[in-house]
Subunit: 138 residues, 2 copies
């Protein structure tokens, strides 16, 4: 299983492709993207800020993926987490998986997301309320 | 919930985007692609052929999606099924969903795939063995 974990302050390229060497034998490809919604805990927001404890976050994410891969065999897993300020409508995380069978691919992605929230040292906070963003406009 | 069902003899555009009007409020986007593998029922193949009973297949797929949408609310669902000969490595089906919450998006996609196999009049058969394909080459 090839595992790639990236933490980036740049927008996530949502249309990036599976490398050809991992696309071939795969019968299933699952991709999840979590985007920032216009409210957080009931309050309107314009962005979320993700703070991360590096390099522990990367190490823990890799360990979770490898652990899940024993029960849910996949060929290729790529996790990209954006850090810093992420505006509403943009992706904070993308998880892309290929596997021979769809059940393993879905299981790995959904369980990864559950464990990410519990175990990985990434915190988010409301970065800007819409009125604050408005006040910054010329 | 906006539902789009397409049956096509053309290759599925794997990088097609969510229309902007359905991307905005969505916190989750899930996309599944099922591709043709190099073997079927233990035998090596070069392609699968999908035969479909139109328009019943389209109507049944739409009904399944709408039914699942009551329990698993999503904003936008697009199912694209390729029919005719689909070579190994190419996608036979793509299901793309956006929803406010990831649990609903994953549930709709996985349950749709389960019911597709049971209820929709689409049949697949081994179209070509690799040796047959080889024999066609000049």
């Amino acid at each position: 299983m090839h595992v790639q974990i990236d933490l980036t302050t740049q927008p996530i390229d949502l249309l990036s492709a599976v490398p050809p060497e991992f696309a071939g034998g795969a019968g299933a490809r699952v991709e999840f993207q979590g985007t920032v919604r216009g409210e957080e805990a009931g309050l309107p927001i314009a962005a979320l800020e993700y703070e991360v404890y590096l390099p522990m976050a990367e190490r823990v994410m890799r360990r979770i993926v490898e652990d899940l891969g024993h029960r849910h065999p996949c060929r290729w897993v790529r996790v990209t987490h954006r850090v810093g300020v992420v505006p509403v409508g943009e992706a904070a995380i993308q998880v892309a998986v290929t596997a021979a069978h769809r059940a393993a691919a879905f299981a790995l992605v959904t369980r990864f997301m559950d464990r990410l929230k519990q175990d990985v040292p990434i915190w988010k906070r409301r970065a800007l309320a819409p009125a604050e963003l408005e006040a910054l406009r010329p």
